[in-house]
Amino acid sequence: MDRELTFTIDGQSVTARKGETVLQAAREAGIYIPHLCYSDGLEPYSACRLCIVEIDGMRGMPTSCATPVKQGMVVRNDVESVNRVRRMVCEMLIADHPLVCLSCSANMNCRLQDVAAFLGIKGSRLRRMVRKPIVDDSNPFYTRDLGKCILCGLCTRSCHELRGVGAIEIAGRGYESRIAAPGDQPVSESTCTSCGECIDRCPVNALWAKNETVPPTATTTTTCVYCGCGCSLELGTRAGKIVRVRGDKNGICNRGSLCVKGRFGLDFVSAPDRLTTPLIKRNGSFEEATWDEALDLVASTFAKIKQQHGPDALAGLSSAKCTNEENYVFQKFIRAGLGTNNVDHCARLCHASTVAGLARAFGSGAMTNPQSDFEHADCIFVTGSNTTEAHPITAMRIISAVVDPGATLIVADPRRIDLTRYATLHIRQRSGTDVALFNAMMQVIIAEGLCDDTFIAERTEGVEELKGCVAECTPEWAEPITGIPAEKIREAARLYAAAERGSIAYSMGITQHTTGTDNVLALANLAMITGNVGRASTGVNPLRGQNNVQGACDLGALPNKYPGYQDVNDPAIQKHFESAWGASLSPEIGLTVTEIVGAAGSGAVRGLYVMGENPMLSDPNLNHVEQALKDVEFLCVQDIFMTETAALADVVLPAASFAEKDGSFTNTDRRVQRVRAALPKPGEARDDWDIICSIASRTGYPMSYNSPSEILDEIASVSPIYGGMSFERIDAEGLQWPCPDKTHPGTTFLHEGEFKRGKGKFHATPFKVAAEEPDDDYPLLLTTGRYLYHWHTRTMTSRSKGLEEICPPVPIEIHPDDAAQHGIADGDVVEVASRRGVIRADAKVTDRSPRGTVFMAFHFREGAANKLTNDALDPIAKIPEFKVCAVRIGTVEA
């Protein structure tokens, strides 16, 4: 945008964008106007009265934070008439503020000090009325001292306006005013999610992070390792440890914000139980080994199995936690080095149905639009995504669209998730009946003539097939199936169809079903009949779970695709990769994660290489997985911890964590962003790509690179969607694929003008019931998901004491009516059983769960929900039905 306005501050010419305030323009120009209650991204508050200025033609002294710039304005800032008033305000603040600067951790980094220094404050003429320290130490991550608080309201405003949490507010009046949680309870009793936004914004250190004891001596900008939001982190390090974590204010995805995991959940990096040497299992127990011993053993065993049983007796699980470069190297090793396409990773368990469904409908399986687009949508349809917990920073964008400018939010989710607080409409379909809901919505849209006929005619094919399929699917038909009143289905359909820019966001609630691909296809149908694809702030947007699950898919850690989604069974493409990699490749599509585990159990797969995955908790029907991994002839695991899976391995290789490596992650926006090493690797740990290269070379397929940068260059040469990527180009803010050449600016949203596959294709998606429904023996429906405070199999988050304290194992959420019926009280230890396993959990009685449905997160080894889940698969995507299985529940003696 142009800085089209010109005005002066103290005679100096300054430019501004339209709508920018005097304070914002001054900050941009490097001119200091004292202020305490202003912070980027929040509405002006005009409370501290320090940013006052004189403006020709305006009466009194307006606050510069709330005064928009006008062309030709004459502003006086650093003049005695203004500073005299500011000095009085500042003295009043200081009269009320403990002057313990030397021992305050904000010393030299305190906005009140800045103001006082600027104004030349020498003391206060006022009687000191210093408050006693009023310390709230209840939160495991931060401390609050109201004695230091200057009541600028930045913490409360960021909590309400920005994060949509609203845990704290200014309570009382006059001298009694204070920051308080409801009832002046400790903040740990409030709805606080420990995101730390308030700590970042507090100008005086009335709030501080407990883990920040000393200032860092170095700062490294990198990308967060947790979810797919792709937040840019500033890791402050000192003496080999992370001593401070901040959101990068220039981070394009997070604009300085972080969630509790990114900010406070990085203890695992320096955990004492990090793997630091290679381990070989001898006589049932692990013994330390040299790298040479371990690598030789792995390479020779794999070579032997290949020789005796053929390459397809080998398989590898790659990792959505590792970098693009490592995923590329891994699948290249499996394909070119070992000669099989048996390579897959945990995307199979999350968005395989997205990749299958959207590729069929649109030609590309990725999120069509970036997260930032939600802010400009006028209707957002969120289904099967507990966004505030699983993608906290994406949720901020959705909430911001709803709060201002007032977008419509439809949430279709069986559970009363936090996002429903912002929803115009919350409809609660029974788990596993999504297709019935979407078909009924489309029936309404078609019957009421709300389709975008021009879009359908020009951009799509197969609409008649869809119309035939949904003709009978009236809301009245769907009501008994989904449990949603017909009128609500109509309302949802009309709201979405009326949108100028309608955007669909979904996640595991849609994909993890035996009908996962159908669910995705139905959403694609819904978007296409209303013309909501191929434009800004529209689209079908699968929120990707892992930090680099998008990248792992992009780089070919899939059994049917080479890097860049190129088919392994296309002879021309195979030939191309054979010449690029200098090896003959298998034309056969390989096995998926779930099939690999099955094949390991049956003996078809004899050697398994697992890089940074933990199927022993993440896969369905765990008892079956455990047996398979025990039975497999040779298991090599490369990880940063002794995971449940590593414990079953024959060889364990210590890898570097994200904080110790260079490379790139691709976030849910298809944005390829840099990962930069901030710390040395512990002990003898090595980069994942480096380990893989060593093993490949020892199996007779030489692989060597000087750096990850060199690997990305090779990726660019074989994968057209990454064609223009290089470390140099992604350095500042990354690039969104497709980016075919070195001058291409990247692609913000997909399918503009034309779908990747040409015309968008409608698919008929008749409703099918879930593989296992509740019955007399197992009367409750179990659905699984995640909590904000843990990550997947808890390998990383369980190393953070604070996260464990806030979210201890193992809750099961149950509706009050179901609890009463089964004689269960809140806090009871219960036994949960399905046809596949039995676990124990602590009952949490809550109406977040609908009647008849219980909810568990799959994080906890102590009560692993996946011992219960059904390994029935979607026939196309081979994704298991994590979201629906039948269980029974009963109390046990504690």
């Binding site: 409360t156 309400h160 309570a171 009382g172 308080a180 949680a181």
Partner: protein, 154 residues
């Protein structure tokens, strides 16, 4: 959502108010009219009804002196502390009332019969010192008269 024991009809009070944030103060006044004060449960219920954070409700309740966070006595005794009343001996009246009831201003007797408050001004300065008991204004009050008024209510 558990409702408070003191207002079994909290749900019906809530039902009279549209679910809009602007309804917060009228709703709180209504709750207080029914229950005499605003309990933590009532605040939670109001927040949930209006779909706003509980902290926002708490901020408003603690800002306005018209709202009580604790159960009040059957009889409300308010003694004016405005300038005119102060000059005319309000301090002695407060002292006498406190001594008679055994509670300080801002407190409620254990049997929930009386609550005592200091109030800044009733705008009845011509009658100073002023005391208001159960919304009835008494002027030219003396300590003895204040105690006698309380005795009559006991």
């Amino acid at each position: 959502m558990p409702t408070t024991a003191h207002i079994p009809d909290l749900d019906s009070v809530l039902a009279c108010h549209p679910r809009e944030e602007s309804q917060l103060i009228p709703l709180l006044q209504d709750i207080q009219d029914h229950a005499g004060y605003i309990s933590a449960d009532a605040m939670r219920a109001a927040a949930s009804h209006l779909n706003i954070p509980e902290s926002s409700v708490y901020g408003v309740v603690t800002f306005y002196s018209q709202f009580y966070l604790t159960r009040q006595g059957r009889h409300r005794v308010k003694v004016c502390q405005g300038t005119a009343c102060h000059v005319r001996g309000a301090v002695e009246i407060i002292r006498a009332v406190s001594a008679r009831l055994g509670i300080k201003p801002g407190e409620t007797t254990r049997d929930f019969e009386f609550s005592v408050e200091r109030v800044a001004c009733f705008g009845s300065c011509a009658l100073a010192p002023v005391m208001v008991v159960n919304d009835k204004v008494y002027g030219n009050v003396t300590p003895e008269m204040a105690v006698r008024l309380l005795d009559e209510l006991t």
